[in-house]
Assembly symmetry: C2
DNA sequence: TCCATGATTCGATAAATGTGGAAATATCGA
DNA sequence: TCGATATTTCCACATTTATCGAATCATGGA
């Protein structure tokens, strides 16, 4: 992941509704959630959500697939991994500020 | 770190010049860099850089101290750690997308 | 085919962000 | 004190971003 792509991903997550939507999608797992379900959960109009989902999609953070009349969105874990890797490698002093991994957190 | 603070930090890094500035500060280490040195390195006017540094400062990602006529900025690793921790804990599926730590990367 | 449903696109508008010159502030050396 | 240096603040302006109703598109059932 290069700097430009990183900025796109950071911008995508740097917004209240989009960060909330992404968290819901992460929580939902690979099955994802329909756009309508997300709009309900977030309490925002469908057109507003559509705008935000387009940004997350453009940043490569979510994938979408049509199922009947619904469009199901799902978090792209690889993209998130790429973002975290970039930040850890380029914005940390040799890993000095790298957070513990899940395994390490559980062990502590 | 809560969602609001996370969004502030993500917004601060989601901009070409600010991400570049932060990377330079991380590279510079605890000694940091003077505002003028950053402006030269980035090739932007002092007033523009000052605006960006204020955002990074507001997000808690950098600290500043005056040394004679210069104001020295330095990356705040703890804040960056907090951001990465939040993203790993809230935006990853149980650590599924957590990147390897530096030690793990070196070992692999 | 016709209608209902789920979602996106369009368009207008409001708000926030980025830019950079000029003026103001702080510090140092002579 | 005076002038030079380093930086920030102020200001006007252009650009981008966010909001949301209305119109449009796609799908499935009767």
């Amino acid at each position: 992941m290069d700097a430009t792509q990183t900025i796109r991903a950071l911008s995508a997550l740097a917004q209240e509704h989009r960060l909330a939507a992404f968290r819901l999608l992460v929580e939902a797992g690979p099955d994802g959630l329909a756009a309508g379900a997300l709009a309900d959960a977030l309490g925002i109009p469908a057109s507003s959500l559509s705008f935000h989902l387009a940004q997350l999609s453009n940043a490569g953070l979510v994938s979408q697939r049509r199922v009947s009349r619904s469009i199901i969105y799902a978090a792209d874990y690889a993209a998130m991994n790429g973002l975290l890797s970039y930040l850890t490698e380029n914005c940390c002093a040799g890993g000095l500020c790298a957070p513990a991994t899940t395994a390490e957190r559980i062990a502590s």
